[in-house]
Every structure is written in structure tokens, then in C-alpha cells.
Symmetry: C2
Subunit: 457 residues, 2 copies
Amino acid sequence: MENNLILTEELLELIEKKRFSAIKTKLIGMNSADIAVLFEELDRENLPKIFRLLPKELAAETFVEFDSELQEFLIKSFSDRELKDIINELYADDAADIVEEMPANVVSRILRHATPEMRKDINELLKYPEDSAGSVMTTEFVNLKRTITVADAIKQIHLTGIDKETVNTCYVTEPDRRLIGIVTLRSLIIANPDQIISDIMERNIVSVNTESDRESVANLLKKYDLTAMPVVDAENRLVGIITIDDAIDVIEEETTEDIEKMAAILPTDKPYLKTGVFETVKARIFWLLLLMISATFTGMIISSFEEKLKLFPALIAFIPMIMGTGGNSGGQSSVTVIRGLSLGEIEFKDIFKVIFKEMKVALICGGILAAVSFIKIIVFDYFILGNLGENFIIETLVVCFTLIFTVFIAKIVGSALPLFAQKLKLDPAVMASPFITTIVDAISLLIYFAVAALLLG
Amino acid sequence: MENNLILTEELLELIEKKRFSAIKTKLIGMNSADIAVLFEELDRENLPKIFRLLPKELAAETFVEFDSELQEFLIKSFSDRELKDIINELYADDAADIVEEMPANVVSRILRHATPEMRKDINELLKYPEDSAGSVMTTEFVNLKRTITVADAIKQIHLTGIDKETVNTCYVTEPDRRLIGIVTLRSLIIANPDQIISDIMERNIVSVNTESDRESVANLLKKYDLTAMPVVDAENRLVGIITIDDAIDVIEEETTEDIEKMAAILPTDKPYLKTGVFETVKARIFWLLLLMISATFTGMIISSFEEKLKLFPALIAFIPMIMGTGGNSGGQSSVTVIRGLSLGEIEFKDIFKVIFKEMKVALICGGILAAVSFIKIIVFDYFILGNLGENFIIETLVVCFTLIFTVFIAKIVGSALPLFAQKLKLDPAVMASPFITTIVDAISLLIYFAVAALLLG
């Protein structure tokens, strides 16, 4: 149930009738996420006019939800006064994200109108490497001295807390800004007003460094069920916090990247419908080309056995089934291991456990597949269609043995490669189905022809 | 940086020396998530003894982190007194999750030792359908009357809040339990103590129904940047809340399920290393069998063109490349669309936009692949290897035209099928690479032979 929604048609009707105060009343009752969806449907002519109806804080919250193209359009339509109001109302991490996406002339206009403090925060955030904890943290948090009382702490939050991105957790620091403890709002409310902060603070803190990888930070937040993670510099001085909502976005972006890599796509950071045709081509063509060229080696293997294949033409018909089953088997193993690695359930030290398990799974799966194939070939191809020649029993055995070998090798390759990639500090997600399939295709053909040569001479 | 970690070796040494009070001191300074990892490494003989060293609350928090097998083992080792302490210290949603996984005799022992209130909560939670909001919510939350003052609200939280899973948001209800507003702890602290709750509460609430799908609830929490989502029954009466940490677990589980389905695996809900060999086989064999059988149709297509293929044996060598490129192209499109659907970035109504874009991407990708193939075949296969016969120019053209057609069809099929699956209320994730590949394999062969027939007569 989402309350107070206003429909696009309704809004357009009100715009036409110029009933702006009615629009304003409706908008004020809405969530910024819903307003943003609504505004994205408006034409560019009406948008700035309607956007101006929002009160300052709601305007800033809504602005953050837009994609960078729309943000740029709006910034260009803002007066200096309006730009100033919006920019300084933003959280510093959101402002830094926006600045990162804008062209140079817009950036300098933004920084010109930011307060000196906001400008400092933005510049600070921009200097951290991409995908680091520093680049996603916010520099706004509640900072308490350890010597004050609970009553004073509540007074301090009262005075300064309104603008802070999260006050559910407050951070206790020494005068030199070293982080020494945390205090939740909950513990402040529950405590006696006269107690000293250092007596009620939690000293067992999990924190991360500005250089930490943002994905591992998100995983730590999840592991310890925290709503915010303090970020410290090399001297253990508190410089920012990463809030849970930003961590969720990180988890989601990283997962999308993994899924894209698993499907042989170079990651893009835009939603599908907002990515241009050429950008999409650029993200996809690299792997298509690489895999196409590699597949020609598989073709060369077939060519080199061409003469022999002419003697047993029935064997050609089983090539797609053998290659397909090998690819699917290897893909299952690689994707399972890749996901396990990224959730932290599997580590490189588990490699023997993993491979040993995959071998057992492969033998059972391969056995079942071979048995079903055997029955299917005998019943369907031989008795019903009658399209197998005199050697059909041996040919059937060739197919069945090849299936078992292929599944066996495919599952070992599929589970081992992502683990080695991780060990070599490469991205395991790249070792997924398309890549494994191409390798397994070649291997399975070699197995097929070797088994055929052995059994058929 | 994670403070106060104790290593397995250190713990084992302390156990051997029977220095239990030293162990207890170390453990009390640790996080439950870390303690759980440490305890999982212990042998079963020592575990109950060391587990008993934990104070009640930490013991309950640690217990929740174990897998169900270890939980069952521990419950069996508990005295009635210990079981009672742990169970009644748990959050109701965690207790319900545990009960769901236990064999009947353990369940009845748990319920026998739960307080009447906890027993009621567990039973309540167990009756909601799997994957519904009701099944993941917690029934513990802070409930305020709208007529009380801020000071009274703080007093109430002070008295009852300690046991509640989250007090960062409090819920304002009418005497008949209808939800009418929310109040954050932050707004309570910032408000004047004499203000009335109904004057400071937020009336614009996003809530969900007990029957709502848990994944869509997690997505709403994310969309609105909330830390908890109220769950109401059909009469809009507040019955529970879903906290952000549970929502993250839901997002992660659902993503893992999607990734597994995309790799032709039936979803399991256990971590890889804890899934037995037969369970793994069961999850994988279904799709392997189905795709193997389907691939035999591809084989039948090759068989039916066998006679003609004998005239142009060079064409056989290109089959793996054409099928592989088709499968990869279709897989890229399907995975992109599936991810877009599950993130809510794409809907069925976008189908024409999606297909039109994929057609343009396909033509460009297909064109590039064909051009590269043309050059590669002429330079490498003809001039360097010299393994093409008299018809090589036409054969090359057959390969290049087939590539363009195949990529075109593959990208349309790959992007359209997940959208239709969604429309038909099937799971789009099943329409991923392995399934698309099998369809595209057959289509690309038909295209190949049709083009060959056209150009080679």
C-alpha cells in the first residue's frame, strides 16, 4: 500500500488548469521516490515550473532520485539562488555523486554556489578511489565527546542532529578525532540522563578504512546487522560513515556487475533503458568477438577429424548435444562457485573440498545423462526412426562414454577456474558460462573423437 | 578493522588448559557473527561446554547465526532450563525460522519451553505463506498511542524498548490497532517533550500487507530508504515490521535464486559447502536432462542436412562458431532483461522499446562479427592455412550472412522471452542463457542451412 499517490494524468490536468497550489499540496504529501517517478514522465517544458513548487528539503530529496541527464537539465534551468538552495540541502555524498557525473562547466557552477563547508566535503569525497569506502561514505554524522553526560548528548543531537544523514548511531571520539566508541540513540534514551557517555558507549566497534573495498564494507554491514559503518583514516580518525541504504545500493550494483560479467557483458552502470545503442554494443561486442574467435578452434578440431567423420556420419548429429551438455554442466559449477565466492561462503582454501564434491556430482549426473541417452538412442533413433547404421551399438557407447567424461571434465574446469581467478586477484565472475563453455566445447570434442577412435578404430 | 578477534588455535589452547574464565572474557568482547564462525570450527564434544560460557543475550544472538544442523545438535545438548533461556531471548521471527527447520520432536520441545507469548508469536508467524511479508516480519515493535506526549513516549520506550528488535522507528496506532503514523526516535529527541505524538508523527506512511511478496517488500524498503517497513493485515491493523537487515537477507537470497535459475540450476537455500552431493545432483540434473534432450533436435537438424553437407564439408567446421555466437548473443540480451525486470527497471509495457533497441544492437554487433569473420576466413583459413576449396568465397559469404541473421534472431528471442514469461506470471530467470542457447542453436542451424542452400544451390 502506498498512500497519497497522484497519477500522471491527474497532474497534467492540474497543470493545464494552472492549479499550482493544489499541485503543491498533493506533492507535499508524497515520498520523494514517487515524485521523481512522476516528474520523469513530465515534458521538459513543464518540469522546472512544477519542480519549483517543492519545498527546499523535498526538492533536494527528489533531485537526488533523478538520473544525471535530468539533473543536468534542471541545474541549467535553475537560477543561482535555486541552485544554491538545492546543493546545500543535499547530503555531501549525494552531492559528490552528482558532481562526478556533470560536465565541467556545470561542476564549476555547482561548486561556486556550494557553501565553503559543502565544497570542502565534496572535494574530500571526490579524491577517494572509485569503489573505495571513502567514495561512498557520507561526511555527516553525530560526533560526541566521551566526557559529556547523556542529557548533554541529547541536547547536542537536538541542536545539530536535524541535518545529519543518520543519528540512530552516534560516534564517540577523542579530541584528536580517534574513534573510541559508539552510542545508539536507543541506548541514550534508555540510559539515565546523568550517566557519562564513556560509561554507556559500546567499545567493541567494527570499522573500516577509507581505502577498503566498498563491496566488502557492504558485506560487513550485513554480517554484523549494522545500520551504519564508521570509516576511519590510517590514524584511526573518524572521517565518515557508510549508511545501510548506500550499502544496499552497493550490494545491488556489484551483483548486477557480477551477473553481467557472467553473461559475457562488460559492466555498465546505467539502467538498461537509459543506455544508448552504441554503449550497449560496446559492452557486448568484446566478449562476442573473443568467444567467436575461440570457437573457431573448436571448428578446427572438427575439420581435422573430417575425413574420419565421413566414415561415421551419424556421430556428427550428436555434436550439439555433447557440446551443449558439457557447457551447461560446466556453467552450473562455475556460477555456483562464483556466487559462493562473492557471498563469502567459499574461499580458495576450500578448493579441494569443492573439486572433490564436483567430481562426485559429475559422476552421478554424467551417469544419469548417459543412461537416459542410451535408452533414448536405442528406442527412439534406432527402433522408431531407424536412422542409425550397422555400428549403432558402438556409436551409442561412444556417445554415452563421452557424456560421462565431458561432464566430469566440465565440472572440474567450471569449479576450479573461478577459484584460481580469485587467487590470482582476477574477477571470478568472468570465468562463467560463456568462457567455460568455449573451453569445454573444445575439450568435449577432443574427448568425443578420442573415444570414437578408441572404440571404432 | 575488526576488534577483539580470537583465533581458533588460541581458543583450542585455552580449552586444553581449561582456562574457561579467560575464554569467557574474550568471548564477551566479540560480536555474535564472529563467535559463530569460531564455534563452527570447534569439535562437537567441546561446543556445548564453551557455548554455555556465553551470557544469555549473546548466546541467543550467536545461536541464530548457526546453521540448522548445528542448532539442532545444540538444542539436544541443552538442559530444559538452558533451552528456555535461549528460546525466550530470541526475536520471534528468528525463533519461527528455527522452528521451521527442526524435526517434530525438537519443535514440540521448543514450544513447550517458550513463554505463552513467544509461543503465540511463533505460531502466528508460521501460518503465513512462504515468501510472504508475514513470514519474514517480526512481531516486536514499539507501539505508541497518538494522544500521549513526547515525554511519555520516551518513558514508554525506556520501559519496554530494550527488548524490541528496532526502536529507531515507533508506530502510532489507534486503539483498534489501525496504523495511523510513524515517529522516528530522531524526531522524538528533536521534539519538545510536551508536544503530542499526533502532532509530530509522519502520516504519509508506506506499509505492506502480510500477504505481499517478500521480494517486493525488500524493494520498497530500498526505494524509500527505510530502515523498517510496517506490515498490516487486511483491516490495516499493524501486525509486525520487517527490518532492513532481514530485507537485505531477502534481497540476497532472491538474487542467488535468480542467478541459479539463470545457470539452469533449481534453487537450493543452503550454502554450497553445506549442500550434500545428492542434493546438488537433484538441483542440477533436471535442466541438464531437459536441455540434453532438446539438443538432440539440433542434432536431428544436422542429420537431415547430412547428405548436402557432404558436398561442402568446410561448412561443418563453422557450426560451433555460429551456434556459440548465437547462444552468447541471446544470453547477453536475456540476462540483461531478466536483471532489469528484477530491479524494476523494465516492465512488460516496455517490450517494443526493448526489442527495437535489441534489433539495432544486433545489427551492429552482427555486422562487426561478420566483418571480422570475413577477414579472418580469407586471411587465415584461405591464404595461411589454405584449407578452403574452390567455393570458398561463397562459403565465406554463407558464414557471414548467417552470423548477422543469427545474432539478430538470438537477440530478439533472448530479450522477448523473459518479458513474455513475466507477463504469463512465470519466472523470467528461467529464460536465461541455457534455455535461450538451446532454442537459438536450432534456429541458427536452420538459418545456416537455408542461407547455404540459397547461395550454394
